[in-house]
Protein backbone atom coordinates (compact mmCIF):
# COMPACT_ATOMS: atom_id res chain seq x y z
CA UNK A 1 0.00 0.00 0.00
CA UNK A 2 1.39 3.35 -0.94
CA UNK A 3 0.01 6.73 -0.25
CA UNK A 4 2.41 9.55 -0.95
CA UNK A 5 2.09 11.90 -3.85
CA UNK A 6 5.87 11.85 -4.22
CA UNK A 7 5.96 9.34 -7.02
CA UNK A 8 9.67 8.56 -6.89
CA UNK A 9 9.48 7.42 -3.31
CA UNK A 10 6.40 5.73 -2.05
CA UNK A 11 5.99 4.70 1.54
CA UNK A 12 3.33 2.60 3.19
CA UNK A 13 0.36 4.40 4.63
CA UNK A 14 1.48 4.23 8.23
CA UNK A 15 4.64 6.07 7.17
CA UNK A 16 2.44 8.61 5.58
CA UNK A 17 1.22 9.35 9.09
CA UNK A 18 4.87 9.65 10.17
CA UNK A 19 5.02 12.79 8.05
CA UNK A 20 1.84 14.01 9.69
CA UNK A 21 3.37 13.51 13.16
CA UNK A 22 6.50 15.35 12.04
CA UNK A 23 4.38 18.27 10.84
CA UNK A 24 2.67 18.40 14.22
CA UNK A 25 6.09 18.46 15.92
CA UNK A 26 7.20 21.24 13.60
CA UNK A 27 4.17 23.32 14.52
CA UNK A 28 4.81 22.75 18.22
CA UNK A 29 8.45 23.72 17.77
CA UNK A 30 7.41 27.07 16.31
CA UNK A 31 5.22 28.02 19.27
CA UNK A 32 6.50 30.49 21.86
CA UNK A 33 5.37 28.13 24.60
CA UNK A 34 6.60 24.96 22.89
CA UNK A 35 6.60 21.85 25.06
CA UNK A 36 9.71 20.70 23.18
CA UNK A 37 11.67 21.73 20.13
CA UNK A 38 12.40 19.51 17.15
CA UNK A 39 14.29 21.59 14.59
CA UNK A 40 14.42 18.70 12.12
CA UNK A 41 10.68 18.09 12.11
CA UNK A 42 9.79 20.54 9.37
CA UNK A 43 12.09 18.86 6.86
CA UNK A 44 10.98 15.41 7.96
CA UNK A 45 7.33 16.33 7.43
CA UNK A 46 7.63 16.82 3.68
CA UNK A 47 5.93 16.35 1.32
CA UNK A 48 2.60 15.45 2.89
CA UNK A 49 2.73 16.28 6.58
CA UNK A 50 1.24 19.74 6.55
CA UNK A 51 -1.50 18.79 4.10
CA UNK A 52 -2.44 15.99 6.49
CA UNK A 53 -2.61 18.42 9.41
CA UNK A 54 -5.42 20.11 7.51
CA UNK A 55 -7.02 16.86 6.42
CA UNK A 56 -7.13 15.31 9.90
CA UNK A 57 -8.36 18.20 11.96
CA UNK A 58 -9.78 16.11 14.79
CA UNK A 59 -10.54 17.97 17.98
CA UNK A 60 -7.61 18.15 20.33
CA UNK A 61 -5.32 16.26 18.03
CA UNK A 62 -2.46 18.74 17.82
CA UNK A 63 -2.26 19.44 21.54
CA UNK A 64 -2.50 15.72 22.20
CA UNK A 65 0.39 14.93 19.87
CA UNK A 66 2.50 17.62 21.55
CA UNK A 67 1.61 16.54 25.07
CA UNK A 68 2.29 12.91 24.22
CA UNK A 69 5.67 13.74 22.73
CA UNK A 70 6.68 15.70 25.81
CA UNK A 71 5.36 13.01 28.15
CA UNK A 72 7.47 10.40 26.40
CA UNK A 73 10.49 12.73 26.36
CA UNK A 74 10.09 13.05 30.11
CA UNK A 75 9.64 9.30 30.50
CA UNK A 76 12.89 8.73 28.62
CA UNK A 77 14.66 11.23 30.88
CA UNK A 78 13.26 9.70 34.06
CA UNK A 79 14.16 6.14 33.09
CA UNK A 80 17.65 6.94 31.84
CA UNK A 81 18.47 9.17 34.81
CA UNK A 82 18.11 6.13 37.03
CA UNK A 83 21.20 4.83 35.27
CA UNK A 84 20.44 1.16 34.76
CA UNK A 85 18.90 1.28 31.30
CA UNK A 86 21.33 1.85 28.44
CA UNK A 87 19.35 0.66 25.46
CA UNK A 88 16.30 2.43 24.11
CA UNK A 89 14.12 1.11 21.31
CA UNK A 90 11.88 3.50 19.41
CA UNK A 91 9.40 1.13 17.83
CA UNK A 92 7.76 2.30 14.62
CA UNK A 93 9.93 5.36 15.08
CA UNK A 94 8.66 7.11 11.96
CA UNK A 95 10.20 10.55 11.61
CA UNK A 96 11.06 10.74 15.31
CA UNK A 97 14.22 12.84 15.82
CA UNK A 98 14.72 12.20 19.52
CA UNK A 99 18.15 10.74 18.87
CA UNK A 100 19.13 14.16 17.57
CA UNK A 101 17.35 16.46 19.98
CA UNK A 102 17.41 14.90 23.48
CA UNK A 103 20.32 14.98 25.92
CA UNK A 104 21.31 11.33 26.10
CA UNK A 105 23.53 10.07 28.90
CA UNK A 106 26.84 8.54 27.87
CA UNK A 107 26.74 4.95 26.76
CA UNK A 108 23.13 4.89 25.60
CA UNK A 109 22.22 3.15 22.35
CA UNK A 110 19.06 4.23 20.57
CA UNK A 111 17.48 1.80 18.13
CA UNK A 112 14.99 3.17 15.63
CA UNK A 113 12.86 0.37 14.24
CA UNK A 114 10.70 0.91 11.19
CA UNK A 115 10.32 -0.54 7.75
CA UNK A 116 13.01 -0.19 5.16
CA UNK A 117 11.57 2.43 2.81
CA UNK A 118 10.96 4.81 5.68
CA UNK A 119 14.41 4.25 7.19
CA UNK A 120 16.01 4.90 3.81
CA UNK A 121 14.05 8.07 3.16
CA UNK A 122 14.64 9.38 6.68
CA UNK A 123 18.37 8.76 6.36
CA UNK A 124 18.47 10.58 3.05
CA UNK A 125 16.84 13.62 4.58
CA UNK A 126 18.93 13.62 7.76
CA UNK A 127 22.11 13.27 5.73
CA UNK A 128 21.10 16.21 3.54
CA UNK A 129 20.53 18.28 6.67
CA UNK A 130 23.86 17.25 8.15
CA UNK A 131 22.08 16.08 11.29
CA UNK A 132 24.32 14.54 13.93
CA UNK A 133 22.84 12.13 16.50
CA UNK A 134 23.55 12.73 20.18
CA UNK A 135 23.62 9.06 21.05
CA UNK A 136 24.75 5.81 19.46
CA UNK A 137 21.85 5.68 16.99
CA UNK A 138 21.14 2.51 15.07
CA UNK A 139 18.62 2.09 12.30
CA UNK A 140 16.76 -1.18 12.17
CA UNK A 141 14.84 -1.95 9.01
CA UNK A 142 12.20 -4.48 9.91
CA UNK A 143 8.72 -5.65 9.08
CA UNK A 144 6.79 -5.03 12.27
CA UNK A 145 4.03 -7.33 11.08
CA UNK A 146 6.53 -10.20 10.96
CA UNK A 147 9.44 -11.47 13.07
CA UNK A 148 11.40 -8.31 13.78
CA UNK A 149 13.20 -9.07 17.06
CA UNK A 150 16.00 -10.91 15.19
CA UNK A 151 16.58 -7.75 13.12
CA UNK A 152 16.84 -5.73 16.31
CA UNK A 153 19.27 -8.21 17.85
CA UNK A 154 21.43 -8.19 14.75
CA UNK A 155 21.76 -4.43 15.25
CA UNK A 156 23.18 -5.04 18.72
CA UNK A 157 20.13 -5.18 20.99
CA UNK A 158 20.75 -7.38 24.03
CA UNK A 159 17.62 -8.88 25.59
CA UNK A 160 19.58 -9.72 28.74
CA UNK A 161 20.02 -6.04 29.54
CA UNK A 162 17.16 -3.79 30.67
CA UNK A 163 15.45 -1.87 27.89
CA UNK A 164 13.29 1.20 27.52
CA UNK A 165 10.74 0.59 24.78
CA UNK A 166 9.04 3.68 23.38
CA UNK A 167 5.92 2.83 21.43
CA UNK A 168 4.43 6.14 20.38
CA UNK A 169 1.28 6.45 18.31
CA UNK A 170 1.19 2.80 17.32
CA UNK A 171 -1.32 0.80 19.38
CA UNK A 172 -4.42 2.37 17.83
CA UNK A 173 -3.44 1.13 14.37
CA UNK A 174 -3.65 -2.45 15.66
CA UNK A 175 -6.40 -4.78 16.78
CA UNK A 176 -6.74 -5.67 20.45
CA UNK A 177 -5.16 -9.12 19.96
CA UNK A 178 -2.30 -7.51 18.04
CA UNK A 179 -1.66 -5.00 20.83
CA UNK A 180 -1.77 -7.76 23.43
CA UNK A 181 0.63 -9.83 21.33
CA UNK A 182 2.97 -6.87 20.91
CA UNK A 183 3.08 -6.20 24.66
CA UNK A 184 3.81 -9.87 25.28
CA UNK A 185 6.51 -9.92 22.63
CA UNK A 186 8.19 -6.87 24.18
CA UNK A 187 7.92 -8.44 27.64
CA UNK A 188 9.49 -11.63 26.34
CA UNK A 189 12.56 -9.66 25.23
CA UNK A 190 12.73 -7.49 28.35
CA UNK A 191 15.20 -8.12 31.14
CA UNK A 192 14.05 -7.24 34.68
CA UNK A 193 13.97 -3.46 35.09
CA UNK A 194 12.75 -2.84 31.56
CA UNK A 195 10.20 -0.11 30.97
CA UNK A 196 7.60 0.47 28.29
CA UNK A 197 6.45 4.04 27.57
CA UNK A 198 3.48 4.37 25.24
CA UNK A 199 -0.02 5.61 24.63
CA UNK A 200 -3.44 4.01 24.36
CA UNK A 201 -6.55 5.78 23.13
CA UNK A 202 -9.93 5.47 24.79
CA UNK A 203 -12.51 3.07 23.49
CA UNK A 204 -15.40 5.47 23.99
CA UNK A 205 -13.54 8.05 21.95
CA UNK A 206 -13.14 5.67 19.03
CA UNK A 207 -16.80 4.65 19.18
CA UNK A 208 -18.23 8.13 19.52
CA UNK A 209 -20.42 9.37 16.67
CA UNK A 210 -18.70 12.71 17.10
CA UNK A 211 -15.38 11.12 16.14
CA UNK A 212 -16.82 9.39 13.11
CA UNK A 213 -16.00 11.88 10.33
CA UNK A 214 -12.37 12.03 11.48
CA UNK A 215 -12.11 8.26 11.84
CA UNK A 216 -13.73 7.68 8.46
CA UNK A 217 -11.15 9.92 6.83
CA UNK A 218 -8.34 7.92 8.42
CA UNK A 219 -9.92 4.65 7.35
CA UNK A 220 -10.37 5.89 3.79
CA UNK A 221 -6.65 6.73 3.71
CA UNK A 222 -5.73 3.18 4.73
CA UNK A 223 -4.81 4.00 8.34
CA UNK A 224 -7.88 3.19 10.41
CA UNK A 225 -7.73 3.70 14.17
CA UNK A 226 -8.92 0.47 15.74
CA UNK A 227 -7.79 -0.34 19.26
CA UNK A 228 -8.79 1.62 22.32
CA UNK A 229 -9.37 0.89 26.00
CA UNK A 230 -11.14 2.81 28.73
CA UNK A 231 -9.49 0.70 31.42
CA UNK A 232 -5.87 0.22 30.42
CA UNK A 233 -4.28 -1.12 33.62
CA UNK A 234 -5.90 -4.58 33.52
CA UNK A 235 -5.25 -4.87 29.80
CA UNK A 236 -1.59 -4.00 30.22
CA UNK A 237 -1.29 -6.30 33.23
CA UNK A 238 -2.78 -9.19 31.28
CA UNK A 239 0.04 -8.88 28.74
CA UNK A 240 3.12 -8.84 30.91
CA UNK A 241 3.46 -5.28 32.19
CA UNK A 242 2.63 -3.36 35.36
CA UNK A 243 1.53 0.24 34.95
CA UNK A 244 3.71 2.55 37.05
CA UNK A 245 2.58 5.91 35.69
CA UNK A 246 -0.67 6.74 33.95
CA UNK A 247 -1.80 10.20 33.03
CA UNK A 248 -4.25 11.94 30.79
CA UNK A 249 -3.67 15.17 28.89
CA UNK A 250 -4.26 18.19 31.07
CA UNK A 251 -2.98 16.58 34.24
CA UNK A 252 0.23 17.70 35.96
CA UNK A 253 3.15 16.22 34.03
CA UNK A 254 0.96 15.80 30.96
CA UNK A 255 0.47 19.21 29.42
CA UNK A 256 -1.35 20.84 32.31
CA UNK A 257 -2.42 24.27 31.07
CA UNK A 258 -2.12 23.37 27.38
CA UNK A 259 -5.02 20.96 27.13
CA UNK A 260 -8.21 22.72 26.02
CA UNK A 261 -10.59 20.23 27.64
CA UNK A 262 -11.60 19.26 31.13
CA UNK A 263 -9.84 16.30 32.67
CA UNK A 264 -12.65 13.90 33.59
CA UNK A 265 -12.47 11.85 36.78
CA UNK A 266 -11.76 8.15 36.36
CA UNK A 267 -14.93 6.21 35.89
CA UNK A 268 -16.97 9.09 34.54
CA UNK A 269 -19.47 7.62 32.14
CA UNK A 270 -18.70 8.07 28.42
CA UNK A 271 -15.57 10.20 28.92
CA UNK A 272 -12.98 10.43 26.13
CA UNK A 273 -9.76 8.91 27.31
CA UNK A 274 -6.22 9.37 26.03
CA UNK A 275 -3.81 7.41 28.18
CA UNK A 276 -0.12 8.18 28.57
CA UNK A 277 1.55 5.23 30.22
CA UNK A 278 4.77 3.99 31.72
CA UNK A 279 4.90 0.31 32.67
CA UNK A 280 7.54 -2.02 34.05
CA UNK A 281 7.98 -5.53 32.85
CA UNK A 282 6.31 -7.91 35.25
CA UNK A 283 8.90 -10.48 36.15
Amino acid sequence: MTATSNGARTMPAVSYTAQWMAAARALETERDDALYRDPLARDLAEPDGFRLIDRYHGGGLLPFISIRTRYLDDAIGTVLDAGTVKQVVLLAAGMDARAFRLDWPDGVTVYEVDHGPLITEKRRRLDALGAVPRADRREVSADLTGEWLPDLERAGFDRDRPTLWVVEALTFFLTEPQVGGLLELLASASAPGSTLAFDILGRALLRSPFSRPFLETLAADGTPWIFGSDDPEPFVAAHGWRVTDLREPGEPGAGEGRWPYEVQPRGRRGANRLWLIRAEVDR
Binding site: G59, L205, P209, F210, R269
Partner: protein, 82 residues
Protein backbone atom coordinates in the same frame (compact mmCIF):
# COMPACT_ATOMS: atom_id res chain seq x y z
CA UNK B 1 -41.28 30.54 21.36
CA UNK B 2 -43.49 28.55 23.70
CA UNK B 3 -40.89 27.18 26.09
CA UNK B 4 -41.37 27.76 29.78
CA UNK B 5 -38.84 29.79 31.78
CA UNK B 6 -37.39 26.60 33.25
CA UNK B 7 -36.74 25.19 29.78
CA UNK B 8 -35.25 28.46 28.58
CA UNK B 9 -32.88 28.38 31.52
CA UNK B 10 -31.74 24.89 30.60
CA UNK B 11 -30.92 25.64 26.98
CA UNK B 12 -29.32 28.91 28.04
CA UNK B 13 -26.97 26.97 30.26
CA UNK B 14 -25.97 24.92 27.25
CA UNK B 15 -25.52 28.10 25.25
CA UNK B 16 -23.49 29.59 28.05
CA UNK B 17 -21.22 26.55 28.17
CA UNK B 18 -20.52 26.76 24.42
CA UNK B 19 -19.87 30.50 24.57
CA UNK B 20 -17.66 29.98 27.59
CA UNK B 21 -15.38 27.80 25.47
CA UNK B 22 -15.04 30.41 22.73
CA UNK B 23 -13.87 33.75 24.03
CA UNK B 24 -14.15 35.21 20.52
CA UNK B 25 -17.93 34.71 20.47
CA UNK B 26 -20.48 36.70 22.41
CA UNK B 27 -23.66 35.18 21.00
CA UNK B 28 -24.89 31.94 19.55
CA UNK B 29 -28.11 31.75 17.57
CA UNK B 30 -30.33 28.75 18.07
CA UNK B 31 -30.00 27.53 14.49
CA UNK B 32 -26.19 27.66 14.18
CA UNK B 33 -24.73 24.22 13.50
CA UNK B 34 -22.33 23.79 16.39
CA UNK B 35 -20.59 20.75 14.89
CA UNK B 36 -19.95 22.03 11.36
CA UNK B 37 -18.62 25.27 12.85
CA UNK B 38 -16.43 23.22 15.23
CA UNK B 39 -17.83 25.03 18.24
CA UNK B 40 -18.11 21.52 19.64
CA UNK B 41 -15.55 18.96 18.52
CA UNK B 42 -15.01 15.26 18.97
CA UNK B 43 -13.33 15.70 22.35
CA UNK B 44 -15.53 18.43 23.81
CA UNK B 45 -18.80 16.75 22.89
CA UNK B 46 -18.66 14.72 26.06
CA UNK B 47 -18.58 17.93 28.07
CA UNK B 48 -21.56 19.12 26.03
CA UNK B 49 -23.42 15.96 26.98
CA UNK B 50 -22.58 16.40 30.66
CA UNK B 51 -23.77 20.01 30.43
CA UNK B 52 -27.06 18.94 28.85
CA UNK B 53 -27.51 16.24 31.48
CA UNK B 54 -26.97 18.69 34.30
CA UNK B 55 -29.21 21.32 32.74
CA UNK B 56 -32.02 18.93 31.86
CA UNK B 57 -31.78 16.59 34.81
CA UNK B 58 -31.78 13.57 32.52
CA UNK B 59 -29.14 10.94 31.83
CA UNK B 60 -28.12 10.47 28.23
CA UNK B 61 -27.34 6.95 27.03
CA UNK B 62 -23.93 7.09 25.36
CA UNK B 63 -24.62 3.90 23.45
CA UNK B 64 -27.61 5.29 21.64
CA UNK B 65 -26.53 8.83 20.89
CA UNK B 66 -28.06 10.30 17.76
CA UNK B 67 -25.72 12.96 16.48
CA UNK B 68 -28.67 14.69 14.81
CA UNK B 69 -29.87 15.69 18.28
CA UNK B 70 -26.71 17.74 18.82
CA UNK B 71 -26.51 19.83 15.67
CA UNK B 72 -27.71 23.12 17.13
CA UNK B 73 -29.35 24.63 20.19
CA UNK B 74 -32.65 24.11 18.37
CA UNK B 75 -32.14 20.36 18.00
CA UNK B 76 -30.80 20.06 21.53
CA UNK B 77 -33.87 21.86 22.83
CA UNK B 78 -36.21 19.57 20.92
CA UNK B 79 -34.40 16.43 22.05
CA UNK B 80 -33.71 17.23 25.70
CA UNK B 81 -35.70 20.25 26.84
CA UNK B 82 -39.03 19.73 25.10
Amino acid sequence: MTSTPVQATGIDRVRGWILGRHADRTELADDVNIIDTRLVDSLSFVELIYTIEEASGTEIDFDSIDIEDFQSLDTIRKAFFA
